[in-house]
Amino acid sequence: MGVTRRDFIKISGAGAAGLVLTQLGFDLSPIEIYAQEFKLKGAKETTTVCCYCSVGCGMIVHTDSQGKIINLEGDPEHPISEGALCAKGAASYQIAVNENRLKKVRYRAPYSDKWKEVSWDWALDKMAANIKKSREASFSPKNAAGQVVNRTNGIASVGSAAMDNEECWLYSKMLRALGLVYIEHQARI
């Protein structure tokens, strides 16, 4: 019978060292066992699913009492992946813990050569005004043949298969309410 890493931690955390080592069938230094236990002791486990390809591998994210990610690994209970992850999935810890993440709202003014940090409120107001302006300027109640079309010709959107189902649905709803027909995303490429 295979011993998964979770089993291993469970067993190694049980205490009676002699029994543990017999169960595992091989020797490990007590220090290593202690280190493994220490790292995840008291950690909160949250299940998630990998964000990369479409296999849908299960993952467990361990967070500490401060809410910080301290570990991410394959979910051994998951029927498709059975605890396995590929190089990308295993590295996805570094998506969350990464100093290169976008952390601020940024704005690039016309003809500018740099980004400027702005607030959500400022950006949302300006984006909403832009959307309205473009919609007003390009809205066609009817097409050339006189048929009702009620569409905004001057705005297009691409994205995103990287969003959750609920977000995709909501995004589709918003774009259609604004009158867009140029709505595309990753599935087309």
Binding site: T46, T48, V49, C50, C51, S54, V55, G56, P79, I80, A87, K88, A91, S92, R101, L102, K104, V105, R106, P110, Y111, D113, W115, W120, A128, N130, K132, S134, S138, N143, V148, N150, R151, I155, S157, V158, G159, S160, A161, M163, D164, E166, E167, C168, W169, L170, S172, K173, M174, L175, R176, L178, V181, Y182, I183, E184, H185, A187, R188, I189
Partner: protein, 815 residues
């Protein structure tokens, strides 16, 4: 996918053609290996030897863009050797149906072609019907006009010699694959096909997949455990985003988008609701009006009434034949048609075919909204190579969003498995989940319209936009609305005569109504979030069939069916045709199906029961498929850019129905000595798509730090390029610098007596990061797409590769 990942283990023969499963869907490979351990044969067909090939029992090469020739030869082999599953073909496909006598095929063209318009009038591609409107059939399959005989005749031309000449695959290699795969035409054997962008990114992309569907239908491999035609999709939720219709031509749940010629909901329903006069055909799409009405109720809520067509008039409408898909979108942007653009969770500056044109197109915009987890070449396009920021007017808003483990919601994998993800941590800085961002943004837009109405404010002011719990955006409320509610008390539901309470969640799409009493944001997801709870969050691992369906682990659309068309796995009495892998069985005493969720509850087909393919108007699998733009049978055409002067199959060089972009920056050429090598783009395990979510990760960029191009030892010799040297890859559109990998993984092809070299490179890189990693391979690819899907032809185009005069100084060797 018709089937699902774990199901690979149930196959006897697995064909991976049009993909590289070991490197691009690595963890799923365990199920291929599980099948191999039980004796299954794994076949890999690809231009390049990859890590998938290393594990294959049979690996054979073919030239990029010649899959239909390869598969056409297999169809001929199946006919010549009578390997087809006769019971299945006679009962579950349209093999015995009669085709319109005016249909014909001559020298690469089907009847009805208009060379001026580069399109077909498909009216002759029809099945004949009797006076009652039921398709005429010849159960002997012997008549000249039967689908069976026409199919046989069409592929009789795909001889081994011809196929080998086109594909560059030696005849003995073709035979190896044909024999192995053709062995699955008996009820006790299952064959499955796994494909990815290696089949879709061609000007014959849809027909590649159609050709395989024909093979699977002939061999009786559809609707069975270990069978199917399975798209291994590239993104974790590209199945879901397609289902939710982030595409110009669809509304959620595969409802066609509204068009100008359908002025009213009645017009829309009349054109888009297929009918069948055959009592044996379930014709599930007859229910379309219920799904549309329920969708419109989620759009406009109480403002959607019977009197106003549930708000149908407010939906934006395409012109009658307008195609607003990706390539056209960027062509329009390049011509200056848009002032505003949202690149939300996407990086088209690297992912779009002919990326140089895409980047130029962005300079024509007034504003762009770019939402992402990391900075990317799209949001920062104004700062890229060849751009002068001082001359670019585009305002850019770059919004930081939460990563997958920083928010809650569901994603759907390729097996249509909808899995719930929980939030583990907060996003960094001021980053927010995409859902929160769009929720706030639309509220701002709506507030502006409340203040000053402007043009047609009704669809904005009437939109149902109320997904808050305790003052915060709540994704569960959206999930529930996608499932749908009863909006009024239904004292006696027409389906089961039971009472349903207003405000309760609809148990499944069977209960949706067309009169406004139900809502459902996406009918295929109806049953995902019910009064019994959030089905996508389930984690119970029962496996009653022993086939790995795990019906209580999360939830699969539709209605938790794990294998689509599963009624084709049983005989006319409802007994499994392969008792060893019994997917479904009719319990005659209990009068119910046991096993997977059946494709409809009707009893077995028997003499008078219903056909198994319930989504098809005729109820059977389409060997003859009249619904496409480029013909009812797949036919080999060369890629838009190809290395040979003549299509060996016919006088039609390229797919006659593709749109040609010839203006502005769009250029292409065949047999141009400047660009003599066939080129493909592809992926590696350590990166993903344009690399936005991988290039910034230190572990991954260390593993795969830079752009490379693979070529054969023979080509390296021919061009004087050694392994590790820096080279330039160029096409009519652009050029990309790369490190040469001169390798045995590629070999020259012998195509019609001519030596053809093929090269390939990954498309994960971009100029922004890492600094010396190289730019996007899509600077090379052409603006051309499949006529049905408009997916670009990134897998076969013509390029050159040359050694750079300046090579980096060799590193000093340590003593």
């Amino acid at each position: 996918m018709t089937n699902h990942y774990i199901d690979f283990r149930n196959a006897d023969v697995i064909l991976n053609m049009g993909g590289n499963v070991a490197e691009n869907h690595p963890v799923s490979f365990k199920w291929i290996q599980a099948a191999q351990e039980k004796g299954a044969v794994f076949i890999h067909v690809d231009p390049r030897f990859t890590r998938t090939s290393t594990k294959a029992d049979i690996f054979v090469r073919l030239r990029s863009g010649t899959d239909i020739a390869f598969l056409g030869g297999m169809i001929k082999y199946i006919f010549d050797n009578k390997l087809y599953d006769e019971f299945y073909v006679k009962n579950y496909t349209n093999a015995g149906f009669m085709v319109n006598p005016k249909f014909n095929f001559n020298d690469g063209l089907f009847s009805g072609y208009d060379a001026q318009k580069r399109s077909y009038d498909a009216s002759t591609w029809a099945l004949e019907k009797d006076e009652a409107g039921i398709p005429k059939q010849d159960p002997t399959l012997a008549g000249d006009r039967t689908v069976f005989q026409l199919l046989k005749k069409h592929y009789d031309r795909y001889t081994l010699d011809k196929v080998s000449d086109i594909t560059g695959t030696p005849k003995e290699d073709l035979l190896k694959v044909y024999q192995a795969y053709g062995s699955t035409g008996t009820p006790d054997k299952a064959g499955t096909e796994l494909y990815a962008m290696g089949w879709t990114q061609h000007t014959v992309g849809v027909q590649n997949i159609r050709a395989m569907s024909i093979i699977q239908s002939l061999l009786g491999n559809m609707g069975i455990a270990g069978g199917g035609v399975n798209a291994l999709r590239g993104e974790s939720n590209v199945q879901g985003s397609t289902d939710q219709a982030l595409l110009f031509d669809l509304l959620p749940g595969y409802l066609p988008n509204a068009r100008a010629q359908w002025a009213t909901l009645a017009d829309y329903n009349k054109t888009n609701t297929p009918s069948s006069k055959d009592p044996r055909s379930v014709n599930w799409w007859k229910n379309r009006p219920k799904y549309v009405a329920s969708y419109l109720k989620t759009m406009y809520g109480e403002k959607a009434t019977k009197e106003n067509d549930f708000g149908y008039g407010w939906l934006p409408k395409l012109d009658p034949t307008q195609n607003a898909s990706w390539l056209n979108l960027f062509d329009e942007m390049y011509k200056g048609a848009f002032t505003g653009f949202l690149a939300w969770g996407m990086n088209p500056a690297c992912s779009g075919a002919h990326a140089g044109k895409v980047r130029q197109a962005m300079t024509k915009l007034d504003w762009m909204i770019n939402v992402n987890v990391f900075d990317n070449e799209t949001g920062s396009f104004w700062n890229g190579p060849g751009m002068n920021p001082k001359k670019i007017k585009t305002e850019v808003f770059q919004l930081p969003c939460a990563a997958s483990m920083e928010k809650e919601g569901s994603i759907s994998n390729s097996g249509r498995l909808m899995q719930w993800r929980y939030k583990a941590v907060n996003p960094p800085g001021v980053a927010k989940p995409d859902g929160d961002i769009m929720y706030e943004l639309f509220k701002k837009v709506r507030a502006l319209y409340e203040k000053d109405k402007g043009v047609l404010a009704d669809p904005i002011l009437s939109l149902k936009w109320d997904y808050e719990t305790n003052g915060h955006f709540d994704i569960h409320q959206v999930a529930k609305e996608i499932n749908g509610y009863f909006l009024e008390d239904v004292p006696e539901h027409p389906v089961d005569k039971k009472a349903y309470k207003k405000g309760t969640l609809v148990p499944s799409f069977v209960f949706l109504l067309d009169d406004g009493r139900t809502s459902s944001g996406n009918w295929v997801y109806c049953a995902s979030y019910t009064e019994a709870g959030n089905m996508a969050a389930r984690r119970k691992k029962t496996d009653p069939t022993g086939l790995g369906l795990y019906p209580e682990w999360s939830w699969a659309w539709p209605v938790n069916r794990r294998i689509i068309y599963n009624r084709a796995s049983v005989d006319l009495e409802g007994n499994p045709r392969n008792p060893k892998r019994a997917l479904l069985k009719w319990d005659a005493e209990g009068k119910k199906w046991v096993g997977d969720v059946p494709d409809g509850p009707a009893p077995p087909m028997g003499d008078k029961g219903v056909y198994p393919f319930i989504m098809k108007p005729d109820g059977v699998a389409s060997l003859f498929g009249p619904g496409l733009k480029d013909g009812p049978f797949p036919e080999h055409y060369e890629p838009l850019e190809c290395p040979i002067e003549k299509n060996l199959m016919s006088g039609q060089m390229i797919n006659p129905a593709i749109k040609l972009f010839k203006e502005g920056m769009d250029k292409f050429a065949s047999c141009d000595p400047k660009y003599p090598f066939v080129c493909s783009t592809y992926r590696v395990t350590e990166h993903w798509q344009t690399g936005v979510l991988t290039r910034w990760l230190p572990w991954l960029i260390e593993a795969e730090p830079q752009m490379f191009v693979e070529m054969s030892l023979e080509l390296g010799k021919l061009k004087g390029i050694k392994n590790g040297e820096r080279v330039m890859v160029s096409t009519h559109r652009g050029q990309v610098e790369a490190v040469a990998i001169v390798t045995n993984r590629l070999k020259p092809f012998l195509v019609a007596g001519q030596t053809i070299h093929q090269i390939g490179l990954p498309y994960h890189f971009g100029w922004l990061h890492p600094k010396k990693g190289g730019d996007s391979a899509n600077l090379l690819t052409p603006t051309v797409g499949d006529p049905n899907t408009m997916i670009p032809e990134s897998k076969a185009f013509m390029a050159n590769v040359t050694k750079l005069a300046k090579q980096p100084a060799p590193k000093a060797r340590k003593a």
